[in-house]
């Protein structure tokens, strides 16, 4: 059942793929890159136009073998047609047809997506694709978010910004995820791209408000400045004040993760002179009274992040008397609400007027109880995305299940992320959600206790599930009612949810769970494993059974070299494999490196550990056309 995919001789297709959807975590399932652009793929098969369209007799009489002159008419036609292709899967397919199509596709690709910034060098990317207007880059693997990666590992934006600055002076959009970005990089960006429109930084770090100031002041066409869960250092520069004094093009300004004060008056003036502003997400330094003032200025907002949602310390009285209800009522277009960073629950009723319109509500920083939630949620009939803290308890989730029939995505975060506490949400809440929210597609659920029964129920009640991430916070906790491992629950998920592409497992899991995943998880692309499994077989089941697996991240599980080697047939089809605190030896990793030359095999060392044996601390490997990277820190060895 496992087809051994032969490496297709295409140049870096897999690295450039991007799905139609804008969701950043989409994967591709293309074949591995091989360095055979001119050599392998279509050596002599230049494009004689089969359709005959546009190929005048003149060109056909010239032998094409030397062909530095492609059929111009055909290429023009192709160009016009290929401009319309947006899906990167389609584009990669088109680029494989023949050399001519390859060339034209490269010329017409405007959105460059690089799922792993080390999979290809900036020079190579910019030389192939010449007319790019938007660049998306992803850097560090996801486990870096949880302190499992040493600092200074890499994923530097710098080489990319300098390459693109030279190659694409007309660049409009840059979208980065988990990259290290410096203020200098941002300054260079601001200097180099005169028509720059959109900057989105997700989970990035390394820069501060001075970099933002550079962007704000120089990018006069800026429409979007979105900082999402990034670390922004306080350089004591008021970047809000750096926006030009004239009317701006701003449509989206998201800075809820910026942990420093902004000058409110400057912000208010900015909002006033940004008539196109639709999305505004404030940081926690904006009080509710200030929020009021902004809302009054910008009733056209569709997405609002409410900042602290509590009165500021000094102006308490005046703030509490403002008519928040009217302010919210005036925002008739508001569909997405978030913030509530330091919520005073008494202020909550202010949002009643817009509940019925909301499609997305993020309460995940709001420590509210079920009682406080109910009046709100009972009006949110259209809600599709809901992020919340477990402070609402199972009871709160039941309320959600009762009303939110359109719910597509639910995330329940722990207020107190420790392992051994009682925990306010459990299988009861999960069961309720599964019964009430039948259209659920994506769930992230943190809890302290769970049962197989509830997970099985969800697998049956919610057949549309695409993403199932259950985090039982106590490591290796079994089903708390039966005492059994959680194998059956997760097995049911992969068995019954036919659309499932992303899975994160937890709790006590034996190799059986992985056998289920390997057997039924045929379209799973992303799998996260922690503290699970018994033996190498667990990993083998997955590597042998899941042909679409793209991203595999494993920590603290007893998988060793045998298991690792069982995936040789598949690693070129993956974006990356992460294994930390497993049982991999350096030899095992070395074998992989030798067997697969286009794989970069990084062994990341924890310097401080006393290595009593030869186990590798962390293995992070990924396919790449660029070979070893040049910015390897000391604690990383590339085999």
């Amino acid at each position: 059942m496992i087809t051994n995919k032969k490496p297709r001789s295409s140049d870096t297709d897999s690295n450039y793929m991007r799905d139609d959807r804008t969701e950043m975590s989409e994967d591709d399932d293309r074949s591995p890159p091989s360095d055979s652009i001119a050599n392998g793929s279509c050596p002599t098969r230049t494009c004689t136009p089969g359709s005959g369209s546009g190929s005048g007799s003149g060109s056909s009489s010239i032998p094409e073998y030397s062909a530095p002159y492609p059929d111009r008419v055909l290429e023009n036609v192709l160009e016009n047609v290929l401009w319309f292709l947006t899906s990167r899967k389609d584009r990669n397919a088109a680029s494989l047809v023949c050399r001519s199509w390859y060339r034209v596709e490269a010329m017409t690709r405007s959105d460059l997506f690089i799922g792993n910034c080390y999979a290809v060098s900036p020079e190579r990317a910019t030389s192939r694709f010449t007319r790019v207007r938007s660049v998306t880059l992803k850097g560090k693997p996801r486990f870096a978010d949880f302190n499992l990666m040493p600092p200074n590992w890499g994923a530097h934006f710098a080489p990319w910004v300098s390459a693109t600055a030279k190659a694409y002076p007309w660049l409009e959009k840059i979208h980065l995820k988990r990259m290290s970005v410096t203020d200098d990089d941002l300054a260079l960006l601001a200097e180099s791209f005169s028509g720059f429109k959109e900057l989105v930084l997700v989970c990035c770090d390394g820069f501060g408000t001075s970099g933002l100031a550079a962007v704000a002041s120089k990018c006069r066409q800026l429409k979007v400045l979105d900082l999402i869960e990034s670390e922004v250092s306080d350089d004591e520069v008021d970047w809000i004040m750096c926006f030009p004094d004239t009317e701006t093009c701003l449509e989206s300004l998201i800075f809820d993760c910026v942990e420093c004060l902004v000058d409110f008056d400057a912000l208010e003036r900015l909002v006033v002179r940004s008539p196109s502003l639709k999305k505004l997400r404030l940081n926690r330094f904006v009080s509710i009274g200030q929020l009021y003032r902004l809302m009054v200025r910008a009733p056209q907002l569709t997405h609002l992040g409410t900042g602290s949602f509590s009165p500021s310390e000094d102006v308490a009285q005046g703030e509490l008397e403002l008519d928040y209800v009217s302010a919210f009522a005036a925002c008739k277009s508001l569909v997405c609400l978030s913030g509530f960073r330091e919520i005073v629950p008494d202020c909550l009723p202010a949002i009643y007027p817009i509940c019925a319109n909301l499609t997305s509500l993020n309460f995940s920083y709001a420590n509210i109880s079920a009682e406080q939630l109910k009046p709100i949620i009972s009006n949110c009939h259209k809600l599709q995305t809901f992020w919340v803290l477990d402070s609402i308890c199972d009871e709160g989730l039941q309320a959600v299940a009762t009303t939110c029939k359109e719910l597509r995505e639910l995330r329940v975060f722990p207020f107190d992320p420790r392992e051994d506490i009682e925990g306010p949400v459990s299988e009861v809440g999960l069961q309720a959600i599964s019964e009430g929210c039948r259209k659920l597609q994506s769930i992230l659920y943190f809890c302290q206790r769970m049962t197989n029964a509830a997970v099985i129920a969800m697998s049956k009640n919610c057949p549309d599930l695409v993403v199932f991430r259950l985090c039982i916070m106590g490591r290796q906790r079994p089903d708390h009612v039966t005492g059994e491992p959680m194998d059956e629950g997760f097995g049911a998920i992969v068995m019954n949810c036919k659309k499932l592409t992303r899975l994160a497992v937890s709790g006590l899991l034996t190799d059986t769970a992985f056998a289920y995943i390997g057997k039924y998880g045929k379209i799973v692309r992303t799998l996260s494993v922690a503290f699970a499994g018994d033996s190498d077989m667990g990993l083998k089941y997955v590597l042998e059974g899941c042909p679409r697996l793209q991203k595999l991240e494993i920590r603290d599980s007893p998988f060793g070299d045998t298991a690792l080697l069982s995936g040789l047939h598949h690693y070129y089809n993956m974006r990356f494999l992460w294994m930390s605190a497993c049982r991999l030896s350096h030899q095992g990793c070395q074998q992989i490196a030798q067997a697969l030359p286009h794989l970069v095999v990084e062994v990341i060392k924890h310097e401080d550990t006393v290595h009593t044996d030869d186990y590798a601390d962390t293995l992070y490997m990924y396919r790449s056309l660029a070979g070893r990277r040049h910015d390897v820190p000391k604690f990383v060895s590339i085999l």
């Binding site: 949880f146 392992e419 056998a515 018994d534 070299d561």
Partner: protein, 323 residues
């Protein structure tokens, strides 16, 4: 499902016997693996003793035996530490260190520091590790010296700021991003102190400001060995600023100073390098031994010479007092 392959064995290791039980289970389709078989398969397949974590009515226990047996490095988690204060296995933890909680996406332990600095003395880390009961919310109070990774520049709370009740804490678990952890912490404590000199285990970031420059930079003092290194680095860093005429983002100021000019200025009387020490006093850089300087320096400032008069004597006094 294909039969369990035994021959996928590139390096000649034999398969664990337990897998046959599993494959039987599978081929007979969904029958629940009994607990007993779980135990058997587990204990036969590896030397893992997971019995302690199974079939418990209560919590799985205070130690994390499975972690120790998995990890080669003496039970120490990969980039973090287990606090195994209640270990009954007697398994030596190797370099038994307190949990060093990293901050943000930083990695707390990839640090080279003298062993003396490892102890989490007095900070919430060590206190927490000894607390067995339910921790209060104040456990997330920021340590005055949050551990920083080299790239991070923002003051933030400890990574694993939640208290380890009875069980040993593990880095990166549960998988909550630092921003969220820090946010919940700060919303509990409402503690927004800005730590000027963020000293970490091997990282010592301090802000460097220059009078007249548009924005601050940050340097990690640990990357320098002496004053010479530091001052040349600073010269390079600030050479792009035109003194007295800084555009908003004068990174590549057109009238930028050359390095040598800045150096002249720094060595001349126009600008001096000063620092703010632990006590909040501003001192001249260079008066005390380098190590003492890195210990006490919280912040650097390239100050106009005229303002720096009178700093020198204080520095010498302090030096004497300390010694």
């Amino acid at each position: 499902m294909s039969s369990i392959p035994k021959e996928h064995d590139y390096i000649g290791l034999s398969e664990a016997p337990s897998m046959e039980k599993i494959s039987d289970k599978l081929s007979s389709s969904s029958s629940t693996l009994s607990t007993e078989e779980n135990i058997n398969s587990k204990s036969s397949s590896t030397s893992l003793n997971l019995k302690e974590t199974e079939l418990r009515l209560g919590l799985p226990g205070s130690q994390s035996p499975e972690r120790k047996l998995i990890l080669p490095a003496a039970g120490v988690s990969l980039f973090g530490k287990d606090i195994d204060t209640n270990s009954t296995n007697g398994y030596p933890l190797g370099p038994l260190k307190n949990l060093v909680s990293g901050v943000k996406r930083g990695f707390s332990d990839a640090i080279v520091g003298s062993s003396g600095k490892w102890v989490f003395s007095g900070s919430n880390g060590s206190e927490k590790s000894c607390v067995a009961g339910p921790a209060k919310k104040d456990d997330v109070a920021q340590s005055p010296k949050p551990v920083l990774e080299k790239n991070s520049q923002v003051a933030a709370a400890n990574e694993n700021s939640s208290a380890p009740a009875a069980k040993a804490q593990v880095v990166g678990w549960p998988p909550i991003r630092s921003f969220r952890k820090n946010t919940m912490a700060s919303s509990l404590v409402k503690n927004n102190e800005d730590v000027e000199g963020k000293s970490g285990y091997g990282c010592l970031y301090v802000k460097v400001s220059m009078d007249g420059a548009p924005y601050l930079r940050k340097v990690d003092l640990k990357t320098y060995n002496n004053y010479l290194d530091l001052s040349s680095a600073l010269e390079k860093m600030f050479s792009c600023f035109t003194i007295g005429q800084c555009g908003s983002h004068g990174l590549r100021g057109q009238d930028g100073l050359t390095e040598s000019r800045l150096k002249d200025i720094l060595h001349g009387s126009e600008y001096v390098l000063t620092y703010e020490d632990k006590d909040g006093d501003w001192m001249l850089v260079g008066d005390v031994p380098w190590d003492m300087f890195t210990d006490s320096c919280r912040r650097l400032r390239i100050m106009k010479g005229s303002e720096a008069i009178g700093l020198a004597p204080r520095a010498m006094e302090k030096c004497k007092n300390r010694n």
